[in-house]
Structure formats: structure tokens, C-alpha cells
């Protein structure tokens, strides 16, 4: 009896134990033996690729090396950065000026490198501001933001800053349709359908990179999401994905997800150019800022422009065509040959691939199924090359390796799927950790991809690193895609929330004429001090200008007296060093401001308004030499009207005073 009972009990325990153990295993075993070797860049060795990663809600752009995942620099773009004095020094403040005044933060979503003949050329990288719509151009000789242009008639500049194959244009499409700035915007929100309009901007890029809004195309009110230019045979066309063709103005998560198909809008921008020449555009009164950085004066200038040319897509029939695309398309990517346009309906269970040749034929044959706000809607089947069946869940973005393969990120099923563009067959899939958004293959959206690595930028980090409380960094993964199978080789944390990123061979940028320091003789800053003998302090009313120099390891002057409460003090600090990698910093006690970080040969200004009487130290913040800790000085602040003469000195004491 007893043994029988025991056996039954043990049988029950066994069942319980085995039921527990037969739970499906998760996918944590994807890193194989030689991964470390592939991502390893030995100390002192350089990476193969530069990776320019958007900083998302940090508003900045970070620069990484591939395949090591090492962070080299965070370039301040749309957000102030007290570390670098960006938005704090007098010279940089105008860069963040907009028609709304000084805006200290934005959300940089996408990066796009300049191209020549459809190939990455290493001159500039562009970034978009999603909140207060702007485009920035970052110079890759200096790794500094050189220009920012605001976009009128827009709300949420999301489908930006994508470029044409010779960087003729950088585009911007409004995410939120809004009443145009030239119209009355004080209308009931539920009049979306009649009063809200979409505007997409074509910003001309000049030889030196200078940006200017050439024209805008007005469309029915929808949400423009992403875009990419045609290339090769489809050069002259631009493709924008759009959702909310339901034109909902509330609870979009439901109301903008009703239609089975939204659109990819194909724009014939060469045709638009003709209409502009023919005078078909309408000049509209708007206000937008255009900010430029001058490399010689080390100073930004902000200019408010007041006019923009608008073409109406519903009147000029042959600029825009709508291609039906399943379920709220997000990514809109064009393959290296320019023939295939891939729309990624983020709620769709398939990926449609459209053909440029079929698009041309459908337009010629007028194979329309209707009209959307005056824009012809093409028949889905007549433009479709084919559909990738069962690619995964939640397709978002696609990049290319130049070998006929496409790589699409799947947000919901958290994976990257490799498929053949022509046959539309799925070839391989790898998990990402977790919920991947954008991806980047060096040159992956150009005519000439360098299909060696693929980086997945994820939205969820969870257990990838040691925990850091509720707020975690974002996580990216590098895959080796040189073989048939994708192989995970590295995880690395990123700044802010990366959306799109671009990468290019290191040599292209290393050898583009990198600036190592600013030549002192070319310094045209009005307050530059080109030698210690020229250092001085000048009073103009209640403004005190300090012409200061910094040199290892002292400031000139370093003792300043005769400043009164109520004065505004401007420290114009010139770094006299003429060697690479010898920056100096400057900080003064109580400044309600940032520090200055002054590169060799550069002049930078910190405004300081003392709030009390006393003696205030200032010092160099960037460890510059063995005697860095000696690099300091004092400024004395006296009550207003006190009998303290203006004095400044270095190395000598003032005549005995009070």
C-alpha cells in the first residue's frame, strides 16, 4: 500500500516538474564563438566606418565607430549643450533661433549624408528637428553644425532630411498637417478636413552646402511619415509615405488605422521645378529663421525670411501621384538600382514592393482608381512588383546591401528579416533586443551600399545591460551581414533615442580635409585677441568687454578689477594655441550659463552678469597641461559707483589700491 502511494505521489511530482521544464526556450543563444573577434578593434586601431546616429529626443547627433560601437563625439545640433557652450556662448545662440525665438531643445530623428552621383561623399550630414520643424547641416570637416533652416507651414518635420542623389535638394514633409502659416490657424480643430493642409518642402542645397527653401508643395491634410529619393532611373522623383488618410484629428491610434490602404505619394520634382520656372507657384507670407555659422568669425547669424513659394498639388495635376500602400506605411525606401520602392505598412502582414517602371507605365496609361483631394490615385496592382509574404510582424524600415538583398526591421516581432528584392523570398531572420526601429547599413540607402555590417537601433532595452533604475539607455546591435546568414556580433548603448543613422567608410571622412585647428591669422572674430599683448578690458557704458587669451597655462589678463554690480561682462576668450587637440575651457563662478570650450585659434564669448559684490574666480575647465590646475584668475566686483579704477593684469600686481 505504502509503496504504491509513494510511487503515485512521485509520479505526480514528476509530471509537475516536467510540465514546468517543457516551456519553449527563448532565443538567447544567437552569439557564436567568433563574434568578439569580428567586433574587436584593437587599442590604437581605427574603425572601418563612421556611424552618424540621430540622438532622438536628445536633439543631438552622435558619432560612433563600426564595428566597435565606440562613441567618438556627440555633436550638439538642436539642443543646448552646456558642456560645449552650444546655445550658451554668445556666438552659438543665434543657431537655435527660430520664428518662435530661441528654442533650446528639439528631437532629431533622422540623419542623411550628402551624396554625389548617388554615392555617399562625406561632405555633410543633415539632421531634422521633429518638434519645431527645421533641418540642420553638419559639416564633416569640423563635425560642427554649420546651418539650420526652419520650415514654415509645417508641424512635426518627420519625413526629413532625405536628399536627392546629387544633394540637389534636402526634403521635409509635415508630419502633422496644419493650417498654413499664411492662413488663419485659429480654426476649430474638428475642421481638419477643410482647413488643414500638408506641405512638403524642397530645400535647395548649394555648392557650399547653403540651404534655401526652393518651393513647397501643398497637399491634402494627411500625416507624412518618411521619404526617400529616387535614384538612377528614378532620379527626379521623390517618394513620401503618408498615413492618416482618414484625416482624423483625434485618437489617431484607432481613427487613423481604419483604412486598409494609405498612400505612398510619388512626387515628380523635376516637373515641379518646371512649374516653378513657369511661374505657377504662389508666393506666400510666412516667417522662418535661417541660421548660418561663419567659420571665420566663429559666429552664427540668424536671419528671418518672410516668403515661400507654394505649388498646389491639386491644381498642378502631374506633380503628385498616390500609390495605395497597405496599412499606415512608415518606411519608404528605394533600392540601389532605383527600380524598387518598398513601403512598410507598420500594421500590415506583408511588405509591398513597387516598381518604378510600372509606376511610369501606370501614369502613362492613366491607370487610376480614383482621386484623393485632387491627386490621382493609381491602381495598386498596376504599380506593384510583388509582396513579401509573411515577413514578420510590424515592418518598419528597409536598407540594402547592394547584392540584391533587402533588410527590413520588424518592430512587433523584434527581428531583422533579409529578403531577396527580385524574388521577394525571405532568406534569413535574426532577433533584435528588443523591438527594433530603424536600421543602418553603411551607404544602405544610396546607390552604393557597403554591405558588411548592419546596425539595428532598438526601442526597448530591458535586460541587455546592468539595470540603472527606471530610465535605461537605448540599445543597438551590430550584425555581420557579409555571409549568407546574419550574425550578431555586438551590443552597444546609444545616446538619447536613435532613429535613423548613416554610416560611411572611415577614409572618406578622415581624408576629406579634416580641420585640426583654426588658424589664428584667419580668425575674423570682432573680439579676437591675437596675442597676449592685445589682451585688454574695455568698458562701454555698463558693458565690460574682456579681450582675453588662453595659452598653456594662463589666461591674459587673469586679474581684473573695476567691474561693478549691474555691469554685463563679456569674456571674449581666444585660444592662442596652434596645435591639434589643445582646447581650453573657461568658467566663472556663479555664471547662470554654461562653460566655454575654445578650440585652438577660436574666439568664444561668455556673458556674465555678476549678482553680488565680491571676488570671483575663473579657471580653465579642459585639462590642458601639467599646470592646468594653475590656469586660473580672479575678477573683482565692486558696488555700483565705488572708486575702483578699471584694471587688468597678468603676472604683475596692480598699484596698491583699496
Amino acid at each position: 500500500m505504502k509503496t504504491n502511494f509513494l510511487k503515485i505521489t512521485s509520479a505526480v511530482v514528476l509530471i509537475a516538474a516536467f510540465m514546468g521544464s517543457c516551456k519553449p526556450k527563448n532565443t538567447s543563444d544567437t552569439v557564436s564563438g567568433d563574434a568578439a573577434q569580428k567586433a574587436y578593434v584593437a587599442p590604437g586601431k581605427y574603425d572601418e566606418f563612421y556611424n552618424f546616429v540621430s540622438g532622438g529626443f536628445s536633439g543631438q547627433l552622435s558619432v560612433y565607430g563600426l564595428p566597435s560601437g565606440r562613441l567618438f563625439r556627440v555633436i550638439p545640433v538642436f539642443s543646448v549643450d552646456p558642456e560645449k557652450g552650444w546655445g550658451y556662448s554668445e556666438e552659438t545662440k543665434p543657431m537655435l533661433n527660430t520664428s518662435h525665438g530661441f528654442v533650446p531643445w528639439d528631437d532629431l530623428h533622422h540623419t542623411e549624408m550628402s551624396q554625389t552621383n548617388g554615392e555617399v561623399d562625406g561632405r555633410w550630414v543633415f539632421g531634422n528637428a521633429n518638434n519645431t520643424p527645421r533641418i540642420a547641416r553638419i559639416d564633416l570637416k569640423t563635425f560642427k553644425t554649420a546651418e539650420i533652416i526652419e520650415l514654415p507651414n509645417s508641424g512635426g518635420n518627420h519625413s526629413s532630411p532625405f536628399i536627392t542623389e546629387n544633394t540637389e535638394y534636402v526634403v521635409a514633409g509635415t508630419r502633422f498637417s496644419v493650417p498654413g502659416d499664411y492662413e488663419n490657424g485659429d480654426v476649430p480643430i474638428n475642421t481638419y478636413k477643410e482647413n488643414y493642409k500638408g506641405h512638403i518642402s524642397f530645400v535647395k542645397v548649394g555648392k557650399e552646402g547653403e540651404m534655401d527653401i526652393a518651393f513647397q508643395i501643398m497637399t491634402p491634410g494627411v500625416n507624412f511619415d518618411l521619404s526617400h529619393a529616387g535614384k538612377g532611373k528614378s532620379h527626379g522623383w521623390f517618394f513620401f509615405s503618408c498615413y492618416n488618410t482618414e484625416q482624423a484629428n483625434t485618437l489617431l491610434e484607432v481613427n487613423a488605422s481604419q483604412k486598409d490602404k494609405d498612400f505612398i505619394m510619388a512626387v515628380n520634382w523635376k516637373k515641379a521645378e518646371e512649374y516653378v520656372k513657369a511661374g505657377k507657384g504662389k508666393k506666400q507670407k510666412v516667417r522662418y529663421a535661417h541660421n548660418t555659422w561663419d567659420e571665420h568669425t566663429h559666429t552664427a547669424k540668424s536671419e528671418i525670411k518672410t516668403e515661400v513659394l507654394v505649388l498646389d498639388a491639386s491644381e498642378l495635376k502631374d506633380i503628385c501621384y498616390m500609390i495605395p500602400c497597405p496599412k499606415s506605411p512608415h518606411g519608404c525606401d528605394v533600392d540601389p538600382t532605383g527600380e524598387y520602392i518598398i513601403g512598410s505598412g507598420k500594421l500590415a502582414a506583408l511588405i509591398p514592393v513597387f516598381s518604378y517602371d510600372k509606376l511610369q507605365k501606370a501614369i502613362k496609361d492613366k491607370s487610376y482608381e480614383g482621386d484623393y483631394g485632387g491627386i490621382p490615385v493609381l491602381k495598386y496592382e498596376s504599380v506593384l512588383h510583388g509582396e513579401v509574404q509573411k515577413p514578420g510582424l510590424g515592418p518598419l524600415h528597409t536598407e540594402f546591401d547592394g547584392k540584391g538583398n533587402a533588410y527590413t526591421t520588424m518592430f512587433v516581432s523584434s527581428e531583422v528579416v533579409k529578403w531577396d528584392i527580385k524574388s521577394l523570398k525571405v532568406l534569413d531572420r535574426v532577433p533584435t533586443y528588443y523591438s527594433v526601429g530603424h536600421l543602418c547599413i553603411p551607404g544602405g540607402d544610396s546607390k552604393k551600399p557597403f554591405g558588411k555590417y548592419l546596425v539595428a537601433y532598438n526601442k526597448i532595452t530591458k535586460d541587455r545591460y546592468l539595470p540603472t533604475g527606471p530610465e535605461l539607455c537605448q540599445s543597438a546591435q551590430i550584425y555581420d551581414i557579409s555571409g549568407d546568414k546574419m550574425q550578431l556580433i555586438l551590443d552597444f548603448p546609444t545616446i538619447g533615442e536613435p532613429h535613423y543613422a548613416q554610416a560611411a567608410p572611415a577614409d572618406l571622412i578622415r581624408n576629406n580635409g579634416q580641420l585640426k585647428f583654426y588658424k589664428l591669422e584667419d580668425n575674423k572674430h570682432p573680439y579676437a585677441t591675437k596675442g597676449e599683448k592685445e589682451a585688454k578690458v574695455v568698458r562701454e557704458g555698463n558693458k565690460v568687454h574682456v579681450y582675453m587669451t588662453s595659452m598653456r597655462s594662463h589666461f591674459a589678463p587673469d586679474n581684473i578689477e573695476g567691474v561693478f554690480l549691474g555691469d554685463e561682462v563679456y569674456f571674449h576668450v581666444t585660444n592662442l594655441e596652434q596645435d591639434w587637440d589643445v582646447p581650453h575651457g573657461f568658467a566663472v563662478k556663479g555664471a547662470d550659463n554654461g562653460e566655454l570650450l575654445i578650440m585652438p585659434g577660436e574666439t568664444t564669448t561668455l556673458k556674465w552678469v555678476p549678482d553680488r559684490v565680491g571676488t570671483f574666480p575663473f579657471y580653465c575647465t579642459d585639462f590642458c597641461s601639467a599646470l592646468h590646475q594653475e590656469m586660473q584668475g580672479y575678477i573683482r566686483v565692486s558696488p555700483k559707483g565705488a572708486n575702483v579704477p578699471l584694471h587688468y593684469s597678468l603676472g604683475t600686481n596692480f598699484p596698491a589700491g583699496k
Binding site: 504504491n4 503515485i8 509537475a16 517543457c22 519553449p24 557564436s32 523584434s414 528588443y434
Partner: protein, 335 residues
Amino acid sequence: MKTVKISLLSKVLLLIVTGLFLGSLYFPMWQIDLDAPQYPEGLNLKLYANKIGGDVEIINGLNHYIGMATLHTENFIEFKILPYIIGFFGLFALVSALIAKRKFVATLFISFILFTILAGVDFYRWNYEYGHNLDPNAAIKVPGMSYQPPLIGYKQLLNFGAYSVPDIGGWMLIGSGLLIFIVLTLEYKWYKRFMKPKAALLLMPIFILTACSGNEPKPIKLNVDACEFCKMPVSDGKFGAEIQTQKGRYFMFDDISCLVKYCEENESTKVKSYYVHDYTQNNQLIDATKAFYISGGDINSPMHGNIAAFTTFSDAQNFGDKLKAKAISWNEILK
């Protein structure tokens, strides 16, 4: 029929059953585990006798994408009556122990079985209802897709793997049922009528085991996993091998010869599947019984078994020529 009093052991067992029934009210009866890539920690829905617990808020949040109705304890009358039913069974068992009548125990058992069936049907009905009754305005609509969790076992629902099994309370009820069954077996001397009741009982776990263990090889972590036979780490992804036992355990080997020697020395180990590395790939395990083999020649495997495996016959032939190796069959290798 005359009333037969039950033995002391049976009374004790019935008291345990009472304890299990009443105790089960404090533990979750059933759990539905959801696994998705972006939820590495897993989501867990716990069904108590009187409420829904676990990550119910998070699951409700997710369900709105696909238009599934949200789960709320108060929407289920079951959670109001279930504690009384289970409490009643507990008391029933207690009374059975006190009155000590065999027929009473039999009634308890039959009613409990009926209850289990009813509960199962009810559970299925709710699963069906929730999985199919989807909001037509949902953001994600996959044609033909329903989201009914499995009654028991594993099922893939979009990016979620759903795994539905009894929880502690459920196991306590199952234990109660088994104990009552044992009491009846003892009292009615059923075991005498059956030839091998023990064997029947032992068959059960094996049946469940084979029902749920997968047939996939477990990937070998190169330089991490060690060979079960020679204890050296598996470092070459061309010559390794693996076995899965009937019990679902995996053993890895750095050389096919190590697998063979291990099987020779451990004849009691019942092997369910054999896997070997495909020589043409790196660390790709294939079904050993379907692979093609070559042996000897210039092949140089870690433990000098010098056997290479291939998925295709043509690969085996090509490499055989190249490496001056001879073809050999799996049966010859295993001997």
C-alpha cells in the same frame, strides 16, 4: 448495496484532500505565460479561484492593439461561485473522512470529475470568446487570425508564445483528485483487477513528457559548452554532435566519436534524437539519421574520430574526394 466503512489510511488521505481543496483557494489555479521578444521577463496571467492576478493590466494594455476585450475579475461570475464550489468539495472530503462511507467517497469523486469537465468546458468557452470577439476597429487586424489561448500547452499568437498550464492551486486540485482516486482504488481493491496498475501510472508522465518536449536540437555554444564525454569545450563547429534523451535532456560532444563512445558507455540512456554538425557550415546541427558521412583520409577532427557529416549527398561526395575520405553510414558509425 451494503455500506462499507473506509480504512484509517483512506481517512487520513481524505483529510489531506480537505486541506488541499481549502488550501488551493489561496493559490493561483491556472497560469497563462506569455513570452515575446520584447518581454524577456515574460508576462504572466494568474487565475485564482476568486480573481485574475498577475500582469493583467499590462496584458489588457497590449490587447487593445488587436482589439481583444480587456479582462476584469468582476465580469466573470465564475470568480464569485468558484470559491464556494471548491470550499464545498473541501467540506465534502472532510465529511467523507468523518462518516467514512465508501459510497460517499465515490460520490465525491464522480462529482469532482464532473466539476473538472465543466470547468474545462467553461474555460475553453471563455478562451474562445476572448480570442475571437475582436473589436473591428482594432489597429492591427490579421486576416483569419484569432487569439484564443490554448486550453493547456503551448501556442504561438502573433509575436507572443502563450503557455497555458495549471498553477499551484491547480496542482493541488489535481493532487486532490488523484488522492481521492487512490482512496477509491484502495477501498474497492481495483488494483487487483488490473494487471499492472503501477505501469499504467508510470506511463502517464512519459506520455505527458513526449507530448511536450520539442524536437529541436539545442544550439551548442562554441567554447562554452563542454563535451559530455571528454569534458573538453566544444570549439569546432564542424565536428560537434548532440543527443537529446527521451527525458528531454541534451548532451553535447566535440566529436562524433565522443558521442559514439558516450552511448556505448551509457547504454541505459535512452536517446530520442541524434544531431551532428554539418561540416560545410559553422555550428549548424542537423539530424544525424538523415546526414551523409565520410570518414578517414585527411579529415582531422578534434578527438580524431575523423568523421564529417553533410546534409546533402553531393557535398559528402565532393568533400570525400577532396579529403580522400570514404563514405560511411550512420548505422556503421553507431555500430
